[in-house]
C-alpha cells in the first residue's frame, strides 16, 4: 500500500495567515497546539483548498474565496502543499485567486511540473488532467469525501450516534441513509397523499396534499364548467322560447277576443230572437184573452136579467138547499123519538116494585167491613203482616229494657264505690299502679340524695378539723424555732410571739385549703334533701289513704276499675239503643213502652201501632185498647185461625158489595137515557122552527111546501152557478193578465204588439250592422242554429284552452329562467384559463412525484447495492484496525444490512453502547480507518484530528492516545488542539511565518 505524507503546507493571505505561513509535518503523530480562533481549522480548510480548489463565492458563510480571503492587503492569495507518496516528493501550488494550479514532482533535486493550468472546482470545463493526477496520487478527487473521511472535526461520537456517523461517512455526503430517504419521503408526502401505493411509505395519508388538491380543483372547475356551460347556453334559449311563447299568446288572445265577440253577437241575436218570439206569444195570448173576456162580459149581463125573475133568491142563505134537507130529516127524527119515548116511559115504572127484596151487603156480617174501605181482604192481610212485625219489634224493645235493668243492678250492687266516688278519686284509681310506683321511686331517690349529701357533709366537717390541726402545728413550729434560735431574757417573748405568729399563719394557711363556706353550703343541701324526702313520703301516704277503701274492697283494683268502666260503657250503649227504639217506634215517648198511649195528641208513634189500633177497634169494637201494652197483648192473643176466619168473612163481604153496586148502576143509566130522549125531542122541535125561519121567503113562495120549495131553490141555484162560472172565468183572465178591467186588458194587448215589433226591429238593426249574422235570419231550423252556436262555443273553449296552455308554458319558462338566473355561473373564459394553469401545475406536480418516487426507489436500491458491495469488506477492514488498536485478536466488528455496528468479543455480540468509552473511541477510529481504506483504495492518507477530543475525560483520552500512537506507526496523523496537554502526545508542528 502506498503511503502519503504531508510534509509542508504554506498558506499566504489565507484566512488569518496574511503572511506566508508554513506548517511542517513529520512522520507519526504531529501535534499543533494553538489557542482558539488562531487558525487551526483554517489550516484544514487550506489543505482542502490546495487539493480541491477554492470556489469563487461572495457568501462568507460557505467554503469559498469570500470566506478565506485575507482582507489586510496580503502579499498574495495562494498556497503550497508538499507531500510524499511512497517516498516521492510532490509539490502542489495553487493561486486561490484564480485557481491556477501547478503539480510538480521532485526529481534530481528540483521539482518538475507534471500538470498545470486552471482548476476551478465549479467550472463547466474541468481540468481533468489535474484531477486524474491528483486521484492517482491521493486516491480520491472529492473534497467532500476527503473532508468527511480524513478530517475529524467533530467530537467523537457517543454510543447512540455511532451508527449514524458511520452512515454519514458511507453516504458520500455526510448524511445518514435514513435521513436521505426520509427527506425524499417527506418531500413526496408534501405533494401527494398516495405515498403508500408508490412504495415510499407504509400507507397512504388521509388528507389530500398539493397534487390531490390541484386535481380536485381541476375536477371541480371542469364540473362547474360543464354544468355552467349548459346553464349559460340554455339561458338564451329559454329567453327566446319565452319571447316566442309570449308572441304566440298575444296572437291567440286576439283570436280569442274575436271569437268571443262573434259569440257574443250570436248570443245577442239569439236573445233578440227569443225576446221577439216571447213578445209575439205574449201578444197572441193577450189578444185571445181580450176576446174571451168580451164574451164572458156579455154572458154575465144575460144572467143578471134572468135573476130578476126570482126576487126571494138574494134573501135566502146560500145553504138553503142544505136547510131544506135538514128540515126534512128533522121531521123524520121527531117521529122516531116520539115512538121511543112512549116505550121507555112504560119500562121505568116496573123495577120500583122489586126494591123491597134487597137488605144491603152488610146485613149478615159481625164486623163493620165498610169501615175498612172497599177492599177489606187486602186490609186484613196487611194488618196480619203488620201484626207479625209489631210483635217482633215489641220483643226487641222489651229485651232492651231488660238488659238496661240488669246493667243498672250490677253497677249498683257490685261497684257502688265507683258509682259514688268523685272524679279526683276515680282519676287516682285509674292510674293506681303507675302513680304508686312513681311516688315510691321519688321517695327512694330523695332518700338517696339526702344520704349522699350527709356523707359529703361529714367528709367536709372532718377536713374542717384539719384546719385547726394546721393552726396548732403552726403555733408549735412558731414556738420551737425561737426556742432554739433566741437567747436571753426575750427568749420567752420570742417563743410566745412565735407561737402566736405560727398559729396565725397556720390558721390563715388552712382557710383557703378548708373553706367554711363550702361546709355551710353542704349543710343547707342536706336540709333541703331532708325536706324533699318528707314531701315524697307525705305524697305517698296521701295517695295510699285515698285509694285505701277501694283497695280493701277490690284486691285487684286495676281489674275492678276496668270491669266497672266496661259496665258503664255498656249501660250507656243500652240507653242509647232504647232511646233510639223509643224515638223510632214510640215517637219519643219516655216512659215504659207498655204504657205508651196509642191515641195521645201530639205523640207521633210509629204508624204501624195506629193502623193496628184502628184495625182492632173495627174488628173488636167492644175491646178497650188504650195503651201499647194492651194492644200488644190483644195481638199476641190472636191465633192464625182467627185471622183466617176474618179473611173469609171479608171476602164474602166484598162479593156482596160488588153485586149491589152493579144493579144500582143499571137503574141509574135507564133514568138518564129517558131524560135525554125527552130533551132531544124538544131540541128537534126548536131546530125545525129555526130552519123554517131562515128560509121563510122561499117557503112562502112555495106555499109552505118543502117539496116545491126545493124545486124553486134548484132553479135559482143553477142560475147562480152559471153567473159564478162566468164571473170566475172573467176574473181569471184579468188576474192571469194582471189587469183589473177589460179596458186595461185591451191596452196591455196593444203594448205587447208594440213590444214584439220593437224586438223585431232591433234584430233587423243588429243583422244590418253585422252582415255575418244575415245567414241566421234565413237559417233553416233552430236546431241548425243551435248546432252552429255550439260549434262556435267549442272553438272559443279550444282557443281558451290553448291560451291557458300558453300561459302555463310561459310560466314554466319564466320559472326556469328565474331558476337559471338565480344561479351564478362561473366565467367560462376565466375558468378555461384557470384550468390551463391548474393543468400545468398538476403536470409539474406529477412530474415531481414521479421524480421523487424514482429517486426514492433508486436510492433504496443503491443502498442495497452498496451493502452488497462494501458491507463485508468494511467489516473485515474495520476488524483488522480494531484488533490492531485494541491488541485483541478475538474481537470482530460486524455490520448489518443497515450498517448498524456491533462488536463480537470472544464470540459474544456487543453493541457500541455496551463498550467502554475508550473501546468505543477505538471502534470509531477503526471504522474511520476502514472507511478511509474503502474510499482511498490502496493508499494510506494522513488523518487530521481538529480538536475532536474536547469532551473526553482523562481515562478516555489515555486510551485515545494509545490508539493514535498505534495508528501513527503506519500513518501520518496531524492533531490540532487548543489544549496544551496534547503537546506531549506527539511531535510539535513547527510553524514559520514569512517567506
Amino acid at each position: 500500500m502506498r503511503k502519503v505524507k504531508f510534509d509542508r503546507v504554506c498558506l499566504t493571505g489565507f484566512g488569518p495567515y496574511r503572511e506566508t505561513t508554513t506548517f511542517s509535518f513529520a512522520e507519526g503523530l504531529n501535534v499543533l497546539v494553538a489557542p482558539n480562533e488562531t487558525g487551526k481549522s483554517t489550516l484544514v480548510a487550506g489543505i482542502n483548498a490546495l487539493l480541491f480548489g477554492l470556489p469563487q463565492t461572495t457568501d462568507e458563510t460557505v467554503f469559498g474565496q469570500a470566506r478565506y480571503r485575507n482582507w489586510y492587503n496580503p502579499p498574495g492569495f495562494e498556497g503550497e502543499l508538499v507531500f510524499t507518496v511512497d517516498g516521492e516528493s510532490y509539490r502542489l501550488r495553487r493561486s486561490f485567486q484564480n485557481n491556477q494550479v501547478s503539480l510538480a514532482r521532485k526529481e534530481e533535486g528540483g521539482y518538475r511540473e507534471l500538470v498545470a493550468g486552471i482548476h476551478n472546482p465549479r467550472a463547466q470545463r474541468r481540468n481533468l488532467r489535474f484531477e486524474e493526477a491528483l486521484k492517482d496520487l491521493l486516491g480520491l478527487s472529492s473534497q467532500e469525501l476527503f473532508t468527511a473521511t480524513f478530517c475529524l472535526t467533530q467530537p467523537l461520537p457517543e454510543a447512540e450516534e455511532l451508527n449514524e456517523r458511520v452512515q454519514e461517512l458511507l453516504s458520500g455526503t455526510g448524511v445518514g441513509f435514513n435521513r436521505v430517504t426520509e427527506g425524499l419521503a417527506k418531500e413526496l408526502r408534501e405533494i401527494t397523499r398516495f405515498t403508500g401505493r408508490r412504495g415510499v411509505t407504509s400507507r397512504d395519508a388521509v388528507e389530500p396534499r398539493a397534487l390531490e388538491k390541484v386535481m380536485d380543483e381541476i375536477a371541480k372547475t371542469r364540473a362547474a364548467m360543464e354544468a355552467d356551460r349548459e346553464l349559460v347556453d340554455r339561458l338564451e334559449d329559454y329567453r327566446r322560447q319565452l319571447e316566442a311563447a309570449e308572441k304566440q299568446r298575444t296572437t291567440k288572445a286576439k283570436v280569442l277576443a274575436e271569437q268571443e265577440e262573434l259569440l257574443g253577437l250570436w248570443q245577442e241575436w239569439q236573445q233578440l230572437m227569443k225576446s221577439y218570439e216571447a213578445a209575439r206569444l205574449v201578444y197572441s195570448q193577450l189578444r185571445k184573452s181580450t176576446e174571451r173576456a168580451g164574451e164572458l162580459q156579455r154572458e154575465r149581463e144575460r144572467i143578471a136579467e134572468e135573476k130578476a125573475g126570482y126576487p126571494w133568491g138574494p134573501t135566502v142563505p146560500a145553504e138553503t138547499g142544505e136547510l131544506l134537507q135538514q128540515l126534512r130529516a128533522l121531521t123524520e127524527q121527531k117521529t122516531g123519538l116520539a115512538r121511543e119515548l112512549a116505550a121507555l116511559e112504560a119500562e121505568t115504572v116496573r123495577p120500583a116494585a122489586d126494591k123491597g127484596e134487597e137488605a144491603g151487603p152488610q146485613a149478615a156480617f159481625t164486623v163493620d167491613w165498610a169501615a175498612l174501605g172497599p177492599g177489606p181482604v187486602a186490609v186484613v192481610e196487611s194488618r196480619q203482616r203488620e201484626a207479625r212485625e209489631a210483635l217482633a219489634v215489641w220483643e226487641e224493645g222489651q229485651e232492651l229494657e231488660r238488659a238496661a235493668a240488669e246493667n243498672a243492678r250490677l253497677r249498683r250492687d257490685e261497684f257502688a264505690l265507683f258509682e259514688e266516688a268523685d272524679q279526683a278519686v276515680l282519676a287516682a284509681v285509674e292510674v293506681y299502679d303507675s302513680r304508686l310506683a312513681f311516688l315510691r321511686s321519688a321517695l327512694e331517690n330523695a332518700t338517696l340524695r339526702r344520704e349522699k349529701a350527709k356523707t359529703e357533709l361529714k367528709r367536709l366537717e372532718e377536713r374542717g378539723r384539719l384546719r385547726w390541726g394546721v393552726t396548732v402545728l403552726g403555733a408549735v413550729l412558731g414556738g420551737v424555732i425561737p426556742a432554739f434560735l433566741a437567747a436571753g431574757p426575750a427568749k420567752l417573748l420570742w417563743i410566745l410571739g412565735g407561737i402566736l405568729l405560727g398559729a396565725g399563719l397556720g390558721y390563715l394557711a388552712g382557710r383557703p385549703l378548708f373553706s367554711p363556706g363550702v361546709l355551710n353550703l353542704f349543710r343547707k343541701e342536706v336540709a333541703k334533701q331532708e325536706e324533699e324526702v318528707q314531701a315524697a313520703a307525705e305524697a305517698l301516704d296521701q295517695f295510699e289513704r285515698q285509694v285505701a277503701p277501694f283497695k280493701a274492697r277490690y284486691p285487684d283494683l286495676t281489674g275492678a276499675y276496668r270491669q266497672w268502666t266496661g259496665l258503664v260503657e255498656k249501660g250507656e250503649d243500652l240507653d242509647r239503643q232504647y232511646r233510639d227504639f223509643c224515638r223510632r217506634e214510640l215517637g219519643g215517648f219516655s216512659g215504659p213502652a207498655a204504657v205508651c198511649p196509642l191515641s195521645a195528641p201530639g205523640l207521633k208513634v210509629n204508624p204501624r201501632w195506629r193502623d193496628l189500633h184502628a184495625f182492632a177497634r173495627v174488628v173488636t169494637p167492644g175491646e178497650k185498647l188504650e195503651s201499647l201494652g194492651g194492644l200488644m197483648a190483644w195481638l199476641a192473643a190472636k191465633t192464625p185461625g182467627w185471622w183466617e176466619r176474618l179473611l173469609s168473612e171479608a171476602a164474602v163481604y166484598e162479593e156482596k158489595r160488588a153485586e149491589e153496586e152493579r144493579l144500582a148502576g143499571l137503574r141509574q143509566a135507564k133514568q138518564e137515557y129517558l131524560a135525554k130522549t125527552r130533551q132531544k125531542a124538544a131540541e128537534l122541535t126548536e131546530m125545525e122552527e129555526e130552519l123554517k125561519a131562515r128560509i121563510m121567503p122561499l117557503l112562502e113562495a112555495a106555499g109552505g111546501d118543502c117539496q116545491k120549495a126545493g124545486q124553486l131553490w134548484t132553479a135559482w141555484r143553477e142560475l147562480c152557478l152559471r153567473a159564478e162560472k162566468a164571473e170566475n172565468a172573467f176574473g181569471q183572465i184579468l188576474a192571469l193578465e194582471k189587469v183589473d178591467t177589460l179596458e186595461e186588458l185591451e191596452a196591455k194587448c196593444d203594448d205587447a204588439a208594440l213590444k214584439a215589433q220593437s224586438y223585431y226591429q232591433q234584430r233587423q238593426a243588429l243583422v244590418a250592422a253585422h252582415p255575418g249574422l244575415a245567414p241566421l235570419e234565413t237559417a233553416a231550423t233552430p236546431e241548425q242554429l243551435e248546432t252552429e252556436y255550439r260549434k262556435r262555443q267549442e272553438e272559443v273553449a279550444r282557443t281558451r284552452s290553448e291560451l291557458q296552455a300558453l300561459d302555463g308554458e310561459i310560466r314554466r319558462l319564466t320559472m326556469e329562467l328565474a331558476r337559471l338566473e338565480g344561479q351564478e355561473p362561473i366565467n367560462l373564459a376565466e375558468a378555461e384559463e384557470s384550468l390551463a394553469q391548474l393543468e400545468a401545475e398538476r403536470a409539474a406536480l406529477e412530474m415531481e412525484c414521479e421524480a421523487l418516487t424514482l429517486a426514492y426507489q433508486e436510492l433504496t436500491a443503491a443502498l442495497q447495492d452498496f451493502q452488497g458491495s462494501y458491507r463485508l469488506r468494511l467489516a473485515e477492514m474495520t476488524t483488522a484496525y480494531f484488533r490492531e488498536l485494541t491488541a485483541g485478536q478475538e474481537r470482530r466488528v460486524e455490520l448489518d444490512e443497515n450498517f448498524q455496528v456491533k462488536v463480537v468479543i470472544d464470540g459474544r455480540p456487543v453493541t457500541p453502547a455496551q463498550l467502554s468509552y475508550g473501546a468505543r473511541d477505538q471502534l470509531f477510529i477503526a471504522l474511520r480507518l476502514g472507511i478511509a481504506r474503502l474510499l482511498a483504495a490502496d493508499l494510506v492518507l494522513p488523518f487530521i484530528f481538529d480538536d475532536p477530543f474536547l469532551n473526553c475525560d482523562a481515562g478516555r483520552l489515555a486510551k485515545i492516545r494509545r490508539a493514535l500512537e498505534v495508528l501513527a506507526q503506519k500513518r501520518q496523523l496531524i492533531l490540532l488542539s487548543h489544549r496544551a496537554d496534547f503537546a506531549a502526545w506527539g511531535i510539535p508542528v513547527p510553524v514559520k511565518t514569512g517567506a
Binding site: 461572495t58 454519514e168 339561458l235 334559449d237 452498496f866 458491495s869
Partner: protein, 379 residues
Amino acid sequence: MTPIRCLHLADLHLGWRPRGWGGREEERQQERDGLLQKAVNLALDPAARIRLVVIAGDLFESHHPPAGLVAQVLTELNRLVQAGIQVVTVPGNHDELTYHDSVYRQYSREWPGLLVTNPMPERVGVLSVEETPCYLYSMAYTGGVTKAQAMLADFPRGTEAGLHIGIFHGSLDWAAGERSLPLSAQGLATAGYDYVALGHLHQHQVKTVGNTVLVYPGMVEGKYLSDPGTGFFTLVELGAGSPRITKMPVTVRPFRRLTVEVTGLTEAALREELEKMADPEVVAELTLKGVFSFLPDLAGLSDWLRPKFYYCEIKDETAFVDQDLLEKWAGEPTLKGAFLQRMLKRMAAATSAQEQRVVYLALAKGLMALRRGKEHAEG
C-alpha cells in the same frame, strides 16, 4: 371622403387580478384597470383627432365585474360620448353577453355609445362620423343562440356609399371552440368590409386578405409572463384607400424575458449575474439555460429574487448537471456513488425527453436529499 381616425381597442381585460404575486395582486389590478383612462385620455387629445373608439371584446376580464369598476368604465366612456366621440362596444368571450348577470345586460340602458347584443352577424348601426356614414357590422356571441360550431363565413354588408366596418371578437381561421368564435378571414374579405376590427388574440396582428385589412390590436397591458402585452394602442385612419395603422406607445408595466446562461457559474456567480438584471419595476421571466455545475436550489433562488423584481418567475431550461461531474461522483465507493451509477444508467436508457426530464429531476432530487440531509443534520 374625410379620413376618420379610430382608436381600436380590444382585450383590455379590466378587473383581472394576478394570483400569487407576493401581495401585489391588488396593486397590479388597479394599475391595469387604469388602462382605459389612458386610452380615453388619448382619444380626447385633440391632436389625436380620434372620432371613433371601437372596443372589440373583452373589455372586462369577467362578465360580472365589480360595480366600482363598471362605474369607472362608464365614466370613462361617457367622457368620450360627451366629447362627441362615437363609441362602439362589443362583448367578448370573457365578458360574454350570455350570462344573465352579464355587465352588458345589467347596464345595457345606460351603456354609452353603441352596445352590440345581436347573436349573429348583422348590421348593428350607422354612425355619421365626420359626415361620413359608417356602417357597422358586428355580433355578440351568445351561448345557445349563436351558431358558431362551424367557422363563421357569411357576413352581411350593405351596398351604400360610406365606410363598412366589421367588428368581431373571435379567432381568425382558427377553430378554437365555439366560444372563441371562429371567423373565416376569407368570409370577412368576401363581405368586402373596409376595415375589420378584431379582438381575442393578445398579440398585435395585421392581416390583409384581398382588399380587406383585418387587425388584432392585441392586449396593451400584460397579464401573465406568457402574455406580456403590446405596450401600445392601435390607431386606424379610415378613408379613401387602405386603412393606415399606427401604433401609439403607452406607459405600461414592463415585462422582460431574461435569459441567464448558468454554465460555468458557481451559485454565487449566478446570483451576481441575476443581481445585475434586477429591476423592481419589471415583471420578469428568468430563463436559466446551460448546464449547472452545482445542484441548484431553485426554490431558494426564487425567494431570493422576489424583492428584486416587481414580479418574477424562474423558468428552468438548463440541461443536466455536468455529465463528467456526475460520472466522477458515480465512481465514489459511497451511497451517492451507488445512486448515481443507477441514475446514469436510467438516464442512458430513457427513451423520451419526458422520461429523461423525470430521471434528471429524480437525480437532482436524490442528490438534493443527500445534501439537504446534511443540512438538516448540521442544523
